[in-house]
Symmetry: C2
Subunit: 275 residues, 2 copies
C-alpha cells in the first residue's frame, strides 16, 4: 500500500487508529475456547467489530510464534480475513545481517515464500544499514523502524547522547532517512511526552509515525495529534489491550472502544490537520 | 544447560565450534529435494556429519520462518534430533517490551508453549532492560545479547561514542552485566579485529562470547583464541555456510570442514587455554 491510499483511508474513516492483535489464549473470553481455532475466531470477532473504525491492524508476532506452527496458521487466516484496503503491520521487531534480513522480509512481504503479504514490518536498528536495507527492496512495502519507544528501557540506550550530544534515537532517525524515503519508512515513536513529540516531528517532518503507548501506557492522544500531525496526517496510533480485551462480549466491547477512539481522532483531525 | 556442562563438553571434544543451520532450499544439494521434509533431511545429514566436532548448533530462525508453518515443523524435528548434550542457540535476534519479550522467551524456552526447548536465544538490546529481563527468568537458559556485530552496519550505531566517550556496544555490555550474571548472559562479538577482541574481553572477563565472522567474513580464528579465550574458554565460534554448503555430498563435506575447524581449535585450546 502506498501513502496516498493510506491517507485516503484515514480521511474517509476520520480515523488514524491501529488495532493491535496481541491475541493471548489466557486473556480472550472463554466462549472462544470451544472454537476449532480460538485465536482466529477471536481475531475475526475483533476485526468484524472494529473494521469501520480502524485503518490498520497490527498482529504482534510473538503471540502467534509462542503457539508453535498452529499460531502461524491462525495468523495466516487472520491476515486473509482483514479487508484489503486496511493497512497491515507485522509487529516483529526483526533485525539481522543482510541475507538473514532478506529472509525475514520474504517471510512477511512475499506470499510465495511464507504465505504472508503484510504492508509493513517493525524493524530494530541496532545492526545498522545492511540489517534494514533488504526490507526496503520491496515495492509498496514499509519499514517501521524503532526510534523512540514507550517502555521504561527506552532510557537505557535510545536516550543516551553521543559525543556530538545527539541522542541515539535521533541518530537512528537521521541516518535511516538517508536509507529510505517517506514512501517506505515510518518510525515507532512512543507517545509519552509532548516535548519529544515536537522534537521527533522536527527531525522527520514527512514520515509516518506508528505511536504505541496511548491509553494504558499513559500517553495523551490529543498531544500526539497536536504536536505530531503533519500535512498528510502522518500518524497511526495503536491500541491493543484497551480495545481487544475491553469486555467479555468482544463484538460489543471492541466496537465500543474502537468507536470511542475513532470519534476522538475525528475531532483532532478537524482541529489539527492542516492539509 | 549450565556453563560447567558446556565447558566440560568443550574440553571433552577439544572444540568450541558452533555450527550454524542456515538451511535454504535454494542452496542445499538437489538430492535432498525429493525427501518428504528436505530441510530436516539436510539438517539431519549435517548433524550426523558434525556432532563429533561441534559443541553447539545455531539454527537461524529467519530461514525457517520464511517457509511458513512447515518451516517451524522442520525446525522442531531438527531440535528433537540434536543430541541432548549439545548446546542449542535460537538465532532469532528478538527484542520487544516486557510482555511481548516474555512471549518470545516462551516460544524458544518453554516446550509446553511452542514445543521448543532451546538453551539460548540471541536478543537485540535497543529497547533496554525490560526487553531483555523476561528471557533471564528461565533457569539454565541463556540470553546471547548483540554487542559488537561483524557486519558493515555495526559502524552505524554500535561504534558511535556517547558523551562520555564510551561506544554504544560497550555501554550495552556494561549495563547488561548488571541485569544478568555470567551463568545466563553471553554476548555476540564479531571477530574481525584483534584490538576489539582484547577490549571486549577486558569489559566482560567472565562471559561467554558467541563469535560469528570467522572464515567467510574474514576473522582470524587464532586471534579470537589468543585475545578472547578466558579460564573457562568463554568462546563459541560459529561457522555456517563454510560447513553446511561445503560440497554436494553433505555427509562428507560438512564432516571434513567441521573436523578441520575442530583440529585448529584443539591446537588453540592447548596453546591458549590457561585453566
Amino acid at each position: 500500500m502506498n501513502s496516498s491510499e493510506l491517507v485516503k483511508q484515514i480521511e474517509t474513516k476520520g480515523s488514524f487508529l491501529c488495532v493491535g492483535l496481541d491475541t493471548d489464549l489466557s486473556l480472550i473470553p472463554k466462549s472462544f475456547l470451544s472454537e476449532a481455532d480460538p485465536v482466529f475466531a477471536f481475531n475475526k470477532a475483533v476485526i468484524d467489530a472494529t473494521e469501520k473504525y480502524a485503518v490498520a491492524y497490527k498482529p504482534n508476532i510473538a503471540f502467534y510464534e509462542a503457539m508453535g506452527p498452529s499460531g502461524w496458521e491462525s495468523l495466516q487466516k487472520t491476515m486473509d480475513y482483514i479487508p484489503k484496503e486496511i493497512f497491515t503491520i507485522a509487529d516483529a521487531k526483526r533485525g539481522d545481517i543482510g541475507n538473514t534480513a532478506y529472509k525475514y522480509a520474504q517471510t512477511f512481504f512475499e506470499p510465495a515464500s511464507s504465505g504472508f503479504d503484510f504492508d509493513s514490518i517493525t524493524v530494530a536498528p541496532y545492526m545498522g544499514h545492511d540489517s534494514v536495507e533488504p526490507f526496503l527492496r520491496f515495492e509498496d512495502k514499509w519499514v517501521i523502524l524503532l526510534a523512540l519507544t514507550s517502555n521504561p528501557g527506552s532510557h537505557d540506550f535510545q536516550m543516551s547522547k553521543s559525543e556530538d550530544y545527539i541522542p541515539l534515537y535521533e541518530r537512528v532517525m537521521r541516518l535511516a532517512m538517508s536509507w529510505g524515503n517517506v514512501e517506505q519508512l515510518m518510525f515507532v515513536i512512543g507517545a509519552t511526552r509532548s516535548d519529544f513529540l515536537q522534537k521527533v516531528r522536527e527531525i522527520a517532518p514527512d514520515n509516518f509515525f506508528l505511536v504505541p503507548g496511548v491509553g494504558a501506557q499513559g500517553g495523551s492522544l490529543e498531544d500526539v495529534a497536536k504536536y505530531a500531525m503533519n500535512s498528510r496526517v502522518g500518524l497511526l496510533v495503536n491500541s491493543s489491550r484497551g480495545i481487544i480485551y475491553a469486555g467479555d462480549d468482544t463484538s460489543v466491547s471492541a466496537a465500543r472502544e474502537a468507536k470511542k477512539l475513532k470519534e476522538e481522532m475525528s475531532m483532532y483531525l478537524d482541529e489539527y490537520w492542516i492539509k
